[in-house]
C-alpha cells in the first residue's frame, strides 16, 4: 500500500518536474531566437529539412483528402439535390479543420519525430555537451533554429495542404462527378469568409506549429542519452503532439466558431 502511494507520488513529482522543465526550456529557446535571426543561414538550412522535405507527404495527402471529401460529400449531397454545394463542403471542412489538423499530424510524424531523434542522438553522442565545452550555447546553436523553422514551416505547409485539397476536391467533383464548374466556385466564394474561416485556420496552424515543434525539440533535448531513451523520446513526441493537436483543436474551434 505504501509502495503504491510512493509510486504515485514519484510519478506526480516526475510529471510536474518535466512540465516545469519544458516551460523553462521554452523560455530559453525563445530568448535564443534573436541569435538565430542574426545567423540566418542556420534557419534556412533547418527550413529545408523540416519544411521543404515534408512538402511531398503534405501535397500527396492533401490531394487525396480533398478527393475523398469530394466523393463523400457528393454522395451525401446528391440525395438532397444539393450537389452544387459540394464546393462549400470541401472548402469549409478543409479550411477550418482538416487543413490545419491533418497537416499538423503529418508534420508531427514526419518532421517532429526526426527533430527529436536528431537532437536526441546529438545528446547521446555528447555533441551537445561538446558544444558547451567550446562555450557554444547548444540551445542557441542547435535548438532555436529548429524550433523557429518548424514554427514557420507548419503554417505554410497547412496552407498548401488546404489549397491542394480544394483542387483535389474540384478534380473529383467537377472533373469526375460532373458538378457544375461555376456553381462549385461561386457557392464556395459565397460561403467562405477570408477573415472568419481562412485566417482562423491559419491561426490554428500557427498554434499547432508552436506546440508540435516545442514538444519535438524538448523531447529530444530532455531524452535519456541511450538508444532506448532516444526511441522512447521519439515515440513520446508523436503521441504527445498528436494528443496536443487534437485537444487544442477542440479548444480553438470552441473559441473561434463556438458562438454562432
Amino acid at each position: 500500500m505504501v509502495g503504491v502511494i510512493r509510486k504515485l507520488g514519484k510519478w506526480g513529482l516526475g510529471t510536474f518536474e518535466r512540465l516545469g522543465r519544458g516551460h523553462i526550456f521554452l523560455y530559453h529557446v525563445l530568448t535564443g531566437i534573436p541569435a538565430v535571426l542574426a545567423r540566418f543561414g542556420l534557419l534556412v538550412q533547418q527550413m529545408l529539412s523540416v519544411g521543404v522535405l515534408s512538402l511531398l507527404i503534405i501535397v500527396v495527402s492533401g490531394v487525396f483528402v480533398g478527393m475523398v471529401l469530394g466523393l463523400q460529400g457528393y454522395n451525401t449531397l446528391v440525395d438532397f439535390g444539393a450537389e452544387q454545394s459540394l464546393g462549400v463542403v470541401v472548402a469549409l471542412s478543409l479550411v477550418r479543420e482538416l487543413g490545419p489538423v491533418v497537416a499538423a499530424l503529418l508534420f508531427a510524424g514526419r518532421a517532429g519525430s526526426a527533430l527529436t531523434a536528431e537532437i536526441g542522438l546529438m545528446k547521446s553522442t555528447e555533441q551537445l555537451s561538446g558544444m558547451e565545452m567550446m562555450a557554444v550555447d547548444p540551445i542557441k546553436r542547435v535548438i532555436a533554429p529548429r524550433f523557429l523553422a518548424g514554427f514557420i514551416s507548419l503554417p505554410i505547409l497547412a496552407t498548401i495542404f488546404t489549397a491542394v485539397g480544394v483542387i483535389g476536391g474540384y478534380f473529383v467533383g467537377v472533373g469526375l462527378l460532373g458538378v457544375d464548374d461555376g456553381a462549385f466556385w461561386s457557392q464556395m466564394q459565397a460561403k467562405v469568409d477570408f477573415y472568419e474561416d481562412i485566417m482562423n485556420g491559419v491561426i490554428k496552424s500557427i498554434v499547432f506549429g508552436f506546440v508540435v515543434t516545442w514538444i519535438a525539440v524538448f523531447e529530444g533535448y530532455d531524452c535519456v542519452p541511450t538508444s532506448e531513451g532516444v526511441s522512447g523520446a521519439t515515440t513520446r513526441t508523436v503521441v504527445h503532439s498528436s494528443l496536443a493537436i487534437l485537444g487544442l483543436d477542440f479548444v480553438l474551434t470552441a473559441l473561434m466558431f463556438g458562438n454562432i
Binding site: 527550413m47 521543404v52 496552407t159 488546404t162 481562412i198
Partner: protein, 156 residues
C-alpha cells in the same frame, strides 16, 4: 550535400509556394475578391420578424447580390429587429423609397433580404433607412392560417 545557395533557393521557393497557396485561398476560395466591405455603405431596415436571417446573409436587388447583412439588433422600445445591411459601393443608386423583404432561397434554403427599388429621385446614403419592409414568412404561421381557413370553409 547541398551547397548553401541551392538550399536558399529551395527554401525561398517553399515560402513562395506557401504565399501562393494563401493567395489562391483568398482569391479563389473566399469572398475576398467578390465583395469587400471597404468602399460600401450601410443602410438599416426595421422588420417585425426576421425569421432565420443571420449576419452575413446576402442582400439582393433583382436577384443580384449587392451586399451582406452586417449586423442584426433588437430595438427595445419598438420591439422590432433592426437589420444593418452593408451595400457594395458600386450600387449607390438605390432610391429612398426602396422596399425590403425577407425571402427564402428555395423551399428550405437560407433566408436573404431582397430590395426592390422605388421611384424616388433621391438615393439612399450611408446610414439611410429603408421604410417599407416585409417580414419573413414563417412557415408555421402560413400552415396555421391555411388550416384555420380550411376549417372555416368546412363549416359553411
Amino acid at each position: 550535400m547541398h551547397n548553401s545557395k541551392t538550399v536558399e533557393i529551395i527554401v525561398g521557393l517553399f515560402v513562395a509556394l506557401g504565399i501562393a497557396a494563401l493567395f489562391m485561398l483568398a482569391m479563389k476560395v473566399s469572398n475576398l475578391s467578390t465583395f469587400s466591405g471597404d468602399n460600401g455603405y450601410v443602410i438599416n431596415a426595421r422588420f417585425e420578424n426576421i425569421g432565420g436571417l443571420k449576419v452575413r446573409s446576402p442582400v439582393t436587388v433583382a436577384g443580384v447580390r449587392v451586399g451582406r447583412i452586417s449586423d442584426i439588433n433588437f430595438d427595445n422600445s419598438t420591439y422590432e429587429a433592426v437589420v444593418s445591411m452593408s451595400i457594395d459601393g458600386s450600387y449607390n443608386t438605390l432610391p429612398t423609397d426602396t422596399s425590403a423583404s425577407i425571402f427564402t432561397a428555395g423551399l428550405l434554403g437560407e433566408q436573404y433580404v431582397a430590395l426592390e427599388p422605388g421611384g424616388a429621385e433621391k438615393y439612399l446614403q450611408q446610414g439611410g433607412e429603408v421604410r417599407l419592409t416585409q417580414s419573413a414568412i414563417v412557415l408555421e404561421q402560413v400552415i396555421g392560417q391555411f388550416l384555420y381557413s380550411q376549417a372555416e370553409g368546412g363549416d359553411k
